[in-house]
């Protein structure tokens, strides 16, 4: 446990240093012509992720330091009247709720740290593969910003049933439900980006669309759980498990998979196998819903989470067949991820070779580098940027890379 705390502390420090690097690189070291509103949304998402990390991880670190003191030096920050194996610990006057506050002040921003990069990648991939500009670029920025701010103001919605003052709870309900607004803006913009687009259904596109689907499904149950009154019934049930696995776990993984399938040619100069990619997508997509959808009903019926074996308690054992089904599907879906790992490693060495620098016809700068970039990414000068990254299907052209100067008769974005 102490080793775990120390490793968490090291992780915090490393993510802080990484975050610092992202923030100052994005704000200070952009290439010529790359104004902030010409940044791809992937970069914007990474930026806000770094901001979240830099401001919320230190609070976890301070919580962990107090925990280390409690465990090893006999202080009583969190511990009070604890009985372990029949023996009363000498600590008194501590407050376990304090740890929850410090933990969830990181814990909630953390879910956005996981989710925002996925959102950024999905925005980019949907735009590239529907051959349309992203719908509402500025609204996308605004909603990322709003999510970042609100992420710091909602942590106590994880603590509705800890004896929190109900008045305080109602404030956190309001702030929590406010997150639905930027989230809905983002979903709307993804859907309208796809709308009447010339969609290329690559594995990356499918995973990006899957992300949107999962984000909607998981987001809607967030509205349930964000209400402190309904939370009295739903807290610590399978409903919570279903909610956060769909919205944070599976959705983020889908964003990550989308990113891997999309940028794999850039990373290794070869494509991932698409057939395996399609199988991977469909089994994971259907499987994830089969695993987590029934859990909502289990949770509403009052089945608690965190039980390995429910047979010992009759009222927990209402859905043995459903549990079996979930277990079987989980095994299948997990096996499918092993197939993805195989595809990944196999394709690094044996995948179909990339023959052009810009296989997806994308506008962003990484596709102007050589197929196998050397040190510094570009031979010679780094490129200058003349336009935003989403000029798709503009003025009769399918795509116009960011490095191309604005033409004389061209309508400015």
């Amino acid at each position: 446990m102490d080793l775990w705390i120390v490793s968490m502390a090291l992780f915090v420090v490393s993510s802080l240093l990484g975050g610092l690097n992202y923030i100052s690189t994005i704000l200070n070291l952009r290439t010529k012509g790359m104004s902030m509103t010409r940044l791809p949304l992937t970069i914007w998402a990474m930026f806000f992720t770094a901001v979240l990390g830099v401001l919320s991880f230190p609070v976890l670190l301070s919580g962990l330091i107090l925990l280390l003191f409690d465990r090893n030096l006999g202080t009583s920050f969190y511990l009070s009247d604890i009985v372990v194996n029949g023996e009363i610990l000498p600590n008194e006057g501590g407050s376990a709720i304090l740890f929850q506050h410090l933990f969830w002040f990181l814990g909630h921003p953390e879910v956005y740290i996981i989710l925002l990069p996925a959102m950024g990648m999905v925005s980019e991939i949907l735009s590239v593969n529907s051959r349309k500009p992203i719908f509402g670029y500025m609204a996308m920025l605004g909603s990322l910003f709003a999510i970042t701010i609100l992420a710091f103001l909602v942590w106590a919605h994880h603590m509705f049933v800890t004896g929190l003052n109900p008045f305080l709870g109602s404030i956190f309900v309001l702030l929590t439900l406010l997150i639905a607004v930027p989230s809905a803006i983002k979903v709307f913009n993804w859907l309208t980006t796809l709308w009447r687009g010339n969609i290329r259904f690559t594995p990356a596109t499918l995973f990006a669309i899957g992300f949107v689907s999962l984000f909607i499904s998981g987001g809607l149950t967030g509205i349930f759980l964000g209400n402190s009154t309904i939370d009295i019934h739903l807290h610590d049930t399978m409903f919570v498990v279903a909610h956060f696995h769909i919205v944070m776990g599976v959705a983020s993984f889908f964003g990550m998979f989308a990113g891997v399938y999309h940028w794999f040619p850039k990373m290794f100069g070869r494509y991932l196998n698409s057939t395996l990619g399609y199988i991977h997508f469909w089994v994971t997509m259907i499987g994830s819903y089969l695993i987590f959808w029934p859990m909502h009903y289990q949770g509403l019926a009052g089945i608690p989470r965190r039980y390995l074996d429910k047979r010992g308690w009759v009222s927990f054992n209402d859905f043995p067949e459903l549990d079996k089904m979930i277990t079987i599907v989980s095994i299948i879906v997990f096996a499918m991820q092993l197939m993805f790992v195989f595809n990944f490693i196999y394709s690094i060495f044996k995948g179909r070779k990339v023959t052009s620098t810009n296989p997806w016809g994308a506008n962003t700068l990484e596709w102007t580098t050589p197929i196998r970039p050397g040190h510094g990414n570009w031979p010679g000068e780094i490129p200058e940027v003349h336009r935003w990254p989403y000029d798709y299907s503009k003025d009769g052209r399918e795509f116009i890379p960011q490095t191309e100067p604005i033409g004389e008769n061209e309508s400015k974005h």
Binding site: L20, I23, L55, G63, L66, S95
Partner: protein, 190 residues
């Protein structure tokens, strides 16, 4: 396009900017700790602590060191290298003195039977002041590096950026200390 590149040249140096963001991050850590302190101080079993006099001396020391680091930066910019070496040396000594004084303060508290047992302001004081001291030690290490460079460097130093970054950090730990001390006196030291 020229306008854009001109704007970029006027921008803050990336190293300085990174330092400011890092300071924001450190502020959040201490904000977490001090807010934990506030939460706990309203609960039962709370034992306030009187701040030992040593901490006032260390306060004077770190304020003076803040002044000397600023003077060091000024002499560097005026290319008064001997003065610069002296001021950076004095700052370094004051920084070390600060850490030693903090240690004496801890010993003083410990002698007053304020230990890790029970609950109260004492435990927080050790953790928060201790963490602050670790940050000061980080600054002292930076000062040692600059001190050695000022004397042993064969190449001439021209860029003031490293010194500016170190000075920003040093002023920050100074200000942080004053905040922490006032915080303990106002909220904890009844």
């Amino acid at each position: 396009m020229d306008i854009v590149s001109n704007q970029q040249r006027k921008k803050i140096h990336p190293h300085k900017f990174t330092m400011w963001v890092a300071i924001g991050s450190i502020v959040m850590m201490f904000a977490g700790l001090t807010s934990a302190f506030i939460v706990k101080s309203n609960q039962t079993n709370w034992v306030p602590v009187e701040i030992p006099v040593v901490f006032w001396i260390s306060t004077a020391v770190i304020i003076i060191s803040s002044l000397t680091v600023q003077l060091a930066l000024r002499s560097f910019k005026q290319r008064e290298m001997n003065q610069y070496r002296m001021f950076i040396g004095v700052t370094l000594l004051l920084g070390v003195a600060f850490v030693i004084l903090q240690w004496l303060g801890f010993q003083d508290l410990w002698a007053q039977k304020i230990t890790f047992k029970g609950a109260g302001a004492g435990q927080f004081l050790y953790v928060i002041f201790g963490l602050h001291a670790i940050h000061v030690i980080g600054g002292v290490i930076a000062l040692i590096v600059m001190f050695i460079k000022a004397f042993a460097g064969k190449t001439k130093l021209y860029s003031a950026v490293p010194i500016e970054v170190a000075a920003i950090y040093w002023h920050f730990v100074d200000a942080l200390w004053i905040y922490l001390l006032l915080f303990f006196i106002i909220i904890g030291g009844k």
